[in-house]
Amino acid sequence: MIRAQSLSKRFGDKRVLDGLDLAVPRGGFVLVTGPNGSGKTTLLRLCAGLAAPTDGELEVDTPRGAIGFLGHEPLLYRELTALENLDLYGRLYRLPERRERSGAMLERFGLWRARNERAGTFSRGMMQRLALCRTFLHEPDLLLLDEPFDGLDAEGAELLHAELVERTATALVATHDPEALARRATARIALA
């Protein structure tokens, strides 16, 4: 569950979020829309604990190890292979059978054949698929996804859509294309 009250975030003189009230119940799937610079990414980073609010209160009842965060950057190492990247995160999240899980995740997102290739050689879409594998690897209870369909081709978008429909985790998804997830969404927030 996420609850924000009068949440504000400033970067220097620029106020990105201003007095936002938000409540995402457990199991809720909330789409966050708004123009560029409206604070979608900042809101997700605040919820992930990667940034601190300037004012207001923010309560996220999910421990950080149970958060799946997908940002603008893939949070991966270019010199490690796809499998090595997931293995590293699997170790840090202390996942049982992490190799099997990593392999299954790569297979699910169509990257099994590229498992031993360095992430730095991946196209934008493949990198996004790998970032999605990293995000879902530890079966998170809270998903914080920033433009998850970015860079994905039709097949990748379909795979992600199926993944999101299947999962019951609470989710806050920032998107410019809310119609893609309209059926799955339980609520929408529009940031100005």
Binding site: P63, R64, L75, Y77, E79, L80, Y93
Partner: protein
């Protein structure tokens, strides 16, 4: 292996693997330290004191470390991987310790070339010098890694890191030169050990605050 030790091992292993593949940092450190010692060899007048010669070795070591530290978080900056590590449920000090182990390893490898070169160009190595270098490596890597993480978040990181790092390692140079040339090196070695203990504890405890806003 305990969970904490396993996290540190995984992170240190990752850094060594990245360097093995990219070869970004270590070759530059090796080239720099050998070049610096070569320049010092010809710049120093004949008959210079052992203190002057040893002082130049320590300057070479500090700047070689600075070169490596400037790249310490390069891989994490590239694709935002530091956020991924910060989000992981491991103790955040493990990120610092893993990185410090990697930095220490690169520094030791550079010194495996630098110390014989110093012996060749200037004078034979003493055991006090070798012990002092080993002790200094720990302190340099500990404080350097923390400051490199701090600087990595800034746009002016190339400027910020030397500005923060160099004043803090002046005691290492004083202790290192003292241990290498003093009649009684024990007090200087003790000073370096104390410096290590203080900064390792400080950096270990404060890293969490450096990587979170």
């Amino acid at each position: 292996m305990s969970g904490y030790a396993a996290d540190v091992a995984a992170l240190a292993r990752k850094d060594l693997l990245l360097e093995l593949r990219s070869r970004d940092t270590l070759p530059a450190m090796l080239l720099f330290v050998v070049s610096a010692l070569t320049v010092f060899r010809f710049a120093l007048p004949a008959g210079s004191s052992a203190r002057a010669e040893t002082g130049l070795l320590w300057i070479a070591i500090v700047f070689t470390a600075l070169l490596g530290l400037g790249r310490a978080f390069a891989a994490e900056r590239e694709e935002g991987a530091l956020d991924g590590l910060v989000l992981a449920p491991c103790d955040r000090s493990a990120i610092w310790l893993g990185k410090t182990i990697g930095v220490t390893a690169f520094l030791v490898l550079a010194e495996l070339v630098a110390l014989p070169a110093f012996a060749l160009f200037f004078h034979p190595l003493s055991w006090e010098l070798v012990v002092a270098v080993a002790l200094a490596d720990v302190g340099i890597a500990a404080i350097g890694t923390l400051l490199a993480a701090l600087a990595a978040a800034s746009r002016a990181r190339e400027l910020l890191l030397p500005l923060m790092f160099l004043p803090l390692v002046v005691p290492v140079v004083i202790g290192g030169v003292g241990a290498s040339v003093a009649v009684n090196p024990a007090s200087f070695l003790g000073f370096l050990g104390l410096y290590d203990a203080v900064f390792v504890i400080l950096c270990w405890a404060s890293f969490e605050y450096v990587v979170t806003e």
